[in-house]
């Protein structure tokens, strides 16, 4: 008889070891473990263990399928499952909630061989969408909140993004690949060339959105995150522009952020 801990460690190893599913446990099973499982009815010990091994992979692969639907669309069912099983073997879940099973998937994809070169960026975008989905809430700032602000207060105004906002730095135009992968007609997904992009991922209400940032937003947004005053944001927008023109450009950007619900309400 094995002590409880030894039994659990051996069973856990057996369930997660196989790379595919049905049959994996039967091939790799630990004799001491097999001897502890009753052989009763139509199923032998190895087959009974195999039910759990198959459930383990099926359940966690399903979680990854839900979290990375565009990666799945590009790879197809079979290749995605194989990749997901390799990932789970390398990075078993270490969090009690399945919500976090995919947290190292993009990193794993980046190191895997023979995959489309943009796939890791796409996985990073999809994971950012998962993170933003249940990120902390914040009341969004509305245009009406700013309308009564005296002009003299604007230069020192410190705006801040909502917590449910992440930036994803990519080597590929991954927002276009994401959109194309929704309907992966042959030749569409994966088309394009490397192009450094910054994708903003945010939640408005309960809906998660993302958008590629333009040059101006890429320059200004980091300052917003750092809590710099509005005058500094305008100064950062001045590259090659007159101050008044830069203020207009930054003003347009501010309007877009307000429409997207990207800014948090100012402290009272």
């Amino acid at each position: 008889m094995l002590p409880l801990r030894e039994l659990q460690l051996r069973l856990s190893t057996a369930l997660s070891a196989g790379p595919t599913g049905t049959g994996a446990v039967a091939d790799a099973v630990d004799p001491a473990l097999l001897a502890l499982v009753n052989d009763r009815g139509g199923l032998g010990p190895a087959q009974r263990l195999d039910i759990y091994a198959d459930m383990y992979r099926t359940r966690l692969v399903d979680v990854l399928r839900e979290d990375f639907p565009r990666v799945l669309a590009i790879l197809g069912d079979e290749e995605f499952r194989a990749l997901a099983c390799q990932y789970l073997a390398r990075h078993p879940s270490t969090h009690p909630s399945v919500r976090y099973v995919g947290r190292r998937f993009a990193e794993f994809v980046a190191g895997a061989a023979a995959l489309p070169p943009f796939l890791a960026d796409l996985a990073r975008l999809e994971w950012a969408r998962v993170e933003v989905f249940d990120a902390p809430d914040a009341e969004p700032l509305r245009l009406s909140d700013l309308e009564s602000l005296p002009a003299s207060d604007w230069p020192a105004l410190r705006l801040r993004p909502i917590p449910a906002c992440l930036l994803v730095e990519c080597a590929w135009p991954v927002h276009e690949i994401w959109a194309a992968a929704e309907d992966p007609a042959p030749g569409r997904a994966g088309a394009g060339r490397p192009e450094a992009s910054t994708i903003r991922v945010w939640r408005e209400g309960w809906s998660v959105s993302h958008a590629a940032m333009g040059d101006l937003e890429r320059r200004v947004f980091p300052l917003l995150e750092q809590g710099e005053p509005f005058a500094r944001l305008c100064a950062a927008g001045e590259a090659g522009l007159e101050p008044a023109a830069a203020a207009r450009e930054v003003g347009s950007l501010l309007m877009r952020w307000l429409e997207d619900g990207l800014l948090a309400r100012l402290p009272a």
């Binding site: 008889m1 094995l2 002590p3 409880l4 801990r5 039994l7 659990q8 460690l9 069973l11 856990s12 369930l15 997660s16 001897a35 502890l36 499982v37 009753n38 009763r40 009815g41 139509g42 199923l43 010990p45 087959q47 009974r48 263990l49 039910i51 759990y52 459930m55 383990y56 359940r59 966690l60 078993p92 879940s93 270490t94 969090h95 009690p96 909630s97 399945v98 919500r99 099973v101 989905f133 249940d134 990120a135 902390p136 809430d137 917590p163 449910a164 939640r203 309960w206």
Partner: protein, 282 residues
């Protein structure tokens, strides 16, 4: 001693698919059962939905990752998150499963069966007591469906479950479908199972559908409850009396009216058994 939980009626599992129909207020829901881990998040729709559901009907939290039988230390971060959720939502009760879900720092996210030995019993009792002290309330432990049993078990599953309840002073969530599935898979008597449980410990009942895989029954929660499980529910009601009941759906989840109809059927079966009302609709 007994489990001190209220009778809430016949509940419905809180599932995102049903949010639009739930929020329009046309469905009759006695109470909601929410999967605890799905709401241990910082914000967004899950938390808002849980708060909204709680404002509509009593709420019960049902966990899947407490891993009460694991030989790893209790997960402090998990207990803290569960405690925070309980403090915020004030559920009528908190439940999880008699199983282990991982070991060695890894989670299998499954409800893995324990050997029913004195060693495992002492271990589980210690941990249930610790969790109850941590949460400041009794918890309710559910029997799981299983596909294997261990040669070195010295207790029947129902003896083990009853002993956990008595020694740790916790409640039991009797999953009638799990009793049926495991009885079929392992060749024990479902009647003996029900007869062997302490009646004053059963605080909740689960019903569910399963799938016949040919050589075994698989607990899939993706189909209506079958007639033999309804019959076993009748037996459970005769033994345990009126107990809050919920029909679980976790896969191929149908429209809310179908889920509510199953809850209504459970209500009718209860009336039939306990009040001698006419036979419940099929």
């Amino acid at each position: 001693m007994a489990i001190a939980v209220p009778f809430l009626g016949h509940g419905v599992g809180l599932r995102p698919k049903h949010f639009p129909q739930l929020w329009d207020g046309t469905a009759r829901v006695d109470w909601f059962e929410a999967i605890s881990e799905n709401y241990m998040v910082a914000g967004g729709r899950p938390r808002a939905a849980l708060e909204r559901a709680r404002s509509m009907a009593p709420l019960v939290l049902h966990g899947v990752s407490l891993s009460i039988g694991s030989t790893d230390p209790l997960d402090e971060a998990y207990l803290r998150a569960l405690g925070d959720l309980v403090a915020r939502m004030e559920p009528a009760w908190v439940s999880d499963h008699l199983c282990w879900s991982g070991v060695g720092g890894h989670y299998a996210h499954d409800l893995l069966p324990l050997p029913y030995t004195e060693e495992a019993l002492a271990h589980v009792v210690r941990r249930v007591v610790a969790v109850q002290e941590r949460l400041g309330r009794q918890i309710i432990i559910e029997n799981v469906s299983s596909y294997l049993t261990y040669t070195h078990s010295t207790l029947a599953e129902w003896e083990f479950l009853g002993a956990v309840a008595e020694r740790a002073d916790c409640g039991l969530l009797l999953d009638v479908n799990n009793v049926y599935v495991s009885a079929t898979n392992h060749g024990f008597s479902a009647d003996a199972y029900l007869a062997g449980l302490p009646p004053d410990r059963v605080g909740q009942i689960h019903l569910a559908g399963h799938t016949d895989m040919g050589t075994y029954l698989f607990d899939t929660h993706d189909a209506p409850v079958i007639e033999p499980v309804w019959d076993l529910y009748r037996q459970a009601l005769r033994r345990f009396g009126r107990v809050s009941t919920l029909v679980e759906w976790d896969d191929h989840i149908p429209e809310l009216d179908v889920v509510c109809a199953e809850a209504e059927r459970a209500r009718a079966v209860e009336a039939e058994v306990l009040e001698g009302a006419n036979a419940a609709p099929a």
